[in-house]
């Protein structure tokens, strides 16, 4: 009987793994000429992983001072930054630095006001056409869920940000395109956003090397894409522990009930 239980478990495992294999295999389409992704270790990885908040806060600073010139994050609100560990006063101050078009008011007029915590992150362009026109025909993607929207999201992002190089001799580059080891096809419209040490000045004294800034902004964007992940993993650990105990009880009960049945 124990053997049949084991067998059923194996079947379950194999059936769960087999379909999982298919998309994983299908995923390997970083096309030819693209370097294999290096795999850094992130603080948020694993079932007990949590966000490195100091790093993610620095990452927000990188986003604000560098990325946000072109990339929107329209799904986030300033109030979400509270979950990143910023104080309410800080978040209010950050929100107040932007100007929001609101209205119509009682006279039917649109008006401008300073941003509030409840406002969404301000987008750098009025619409996609504007962002395309301003960026050599390539619209900078919204970054709200970017790590979920790319294969191996955070690893890809970190590699991409540090993957700029001179194009190999003989490679014909398109007009205004930049060479990147990890971008599919190696030609990316975005010029290297993180160029030199000290491009941003971290308040906590961390040395702002290109690698450090890339790591920080990756941590921030991972948090932005999956802000629920800490709560999710914590709940998952509880569920699995509870179910394991329940499974033991259920199996013992089943054994007891079936004890007198010759089969």
């Amino acid at each position: 009987m124990f053997r049949s239980a084991l067998r059923a478990l194996t079947v379950f495992g194999v059936m769960a793994a087999a379909p999982a294999l298919a998309p994983a295999l299908a995923a390997g389409d970083h096309s030819q000429g693209t370097a294999a992704l290096p795999h850094a270790h992130f603080h948020f990885e694993g079932i007990f992983g949590t966000f490195d908040r100091a790093s993610a806060q620095r990452g927000f600073q990188v986003y604000k001072e560098v990325c946000s010139a072109c990339h929107s994050m329209r799904l986030l609100s300033y109030r979400n930054l509270l979950e990143l560990g910023l104080s309410e006063a800080e978040v209010r101050a950050i929100a107040a630095t932007v100007t929001v078009n609101d209205g119509p008011n009682d006279e039917g007029q649109m008006f401008e006001r300073p941003g509030r915590m409840s406002d969404r992150f301000r987008s750098p362009f009025a619409n996609e056409a504007a962002s395309r026109a301003a960026n050599n025909g390539a619209a900078p993607p919204d970054l709200s869920v970017i790590t979920k929207a790319r294969e191996e999201g955070p690893h890809y992002l970190l590699a991409l940000l540090t993957g700029y190089a001179e194009p190999p001799a003989g490679m014909a580059m398109g007009d205004g395109m930049n060479y990147n080891r990890y971008f599919p096809g190696n030609q990316i419209a975005m010029s290297a956003p993180l160029r030199e040490e000290g491009q941003v000045e971290y308040a906590d004294g961390t040395k702002a090397t290109v690698e450090q800034m890339a790591m920080d902004v990756t941590n921030f964007l991972q948090w932005a894409a999956e802000p629920e992940s800490e709560a999710r993993k914590r709940m998952g650990v509880k569920w699995v522990l509870f179910l394991t105990i329940l499974g033991g009880l259920a199996y013992a009960t089943k054994r007891k009930i079936w004890a007198n049945v010759p089969h």
Partner: protein, 423 residues
Amino acid sequence: MSIGLHNSAFKNPVIRWVDSRLPIFSMMQNEYGTFPTPKNFNYFWNFGALAMINLMIMIATGIFLAMHYTPHVSMAFDSVERIMRDVNYGWLFRYVHANGASMFFIVVYIHIWRGMWYGSYKAPRELLWIIGVVIFLLMMATAFMGYVLPWGQMSFWGATVITNLFSAFPIVGDHIVTLLWGGFSVDNPTLNRFFSLHFLLPFVIFGVVFLHVAALHITGSNNPLGIDVKSPADTLPFHPYYTAKDSVGMVVYFIVFACLVFFAPNYLGDPANYIPANPMVTPTHIVPEWYFLPYYAILRAVPDKLGGVVLMFGSILVWFILPWLDTSPVRSMRFRPIAKWFLLLWGISFGVLMYCGGKPPEGIYVVLSRVATLYYFAWFLVILPVLGRLERPLPLPESIAKPVLRGGGPLPAGAMAKPMEKA
């Protein structure tokens, strides 16, 4: 007993009052309490109950998601992300619903495999099997339309590719496509009708599942030996024996489910679906969800569009006539020494098709898909009908209660005495 009232066996006056007028308590007692069930089920027989649980989870989470979702091309993607970020435990509901679809297909594929391996489709359970195939088709339609709702890139392009398949049919094809789209391309009317149908179909499935269970309770369950129940000694009451056994499988199922939802919620999904739908940009590879990959591989294995579409639909429609394609008098593969290897190979061909469906349609993958497609159909249309006549099955046990002596020879005196005394 007063005329017109059901003679209830229940003592509790309230239950008795209801039961005499509407014998739902008697029905539950008969169908799930004392229902005589073969005593030799293995854990493969958990999966029907698991599928039922899965359906209820999908409906429950779906109802709450529908309260927060907006079926409009300009708002659908954002409304899903709003569920993830701003709705209390919205992420939990959405991830349970999305991964629940995958779990549903895992469970149902095992359930179907169980039916094939132990010959559960054979007389007298042909109609039970056919109703099951209807449920599976409804499930596929529901899953496909559900995947369109988040309105990501794969939603949009998957919908475009799959709905376009119908245009392969001569004369009516283009009209069907226009009807599915509600216009001349996949657009807002498409999203609206898919949402409406995605809400409706699960309840249709629920109704057909009821018929599936009702038919099951007429013929009774098959069992791993594939032989008929001969006497009460072959059966056990469903409760507590199989409620207890199903509970074990249920917990294992929930553990697998929980690991997916909490630790790898996007593992089975495609990252491209987190990019908002854009009709102007085609993704490099358009792939359906993993559970549709085998049929997608069959579609692409055929160089002709209509031929591919016909074979793709045919790969499931052929299940409808399976009870009549199998000519063997024996149900369970345990007693079919040759057929079991061919069926295993069929299972492998299904796996190969699943693998190839996720790969670009070029080189070795096309060759593999074609070989696997050929075998997929050869098993049903050639091997199964012919083998049933040629194969010599192993001797069947006399009854479920006496399976130990293969061949069902006479038991040594006294072997049956002990259980008899106990009873």
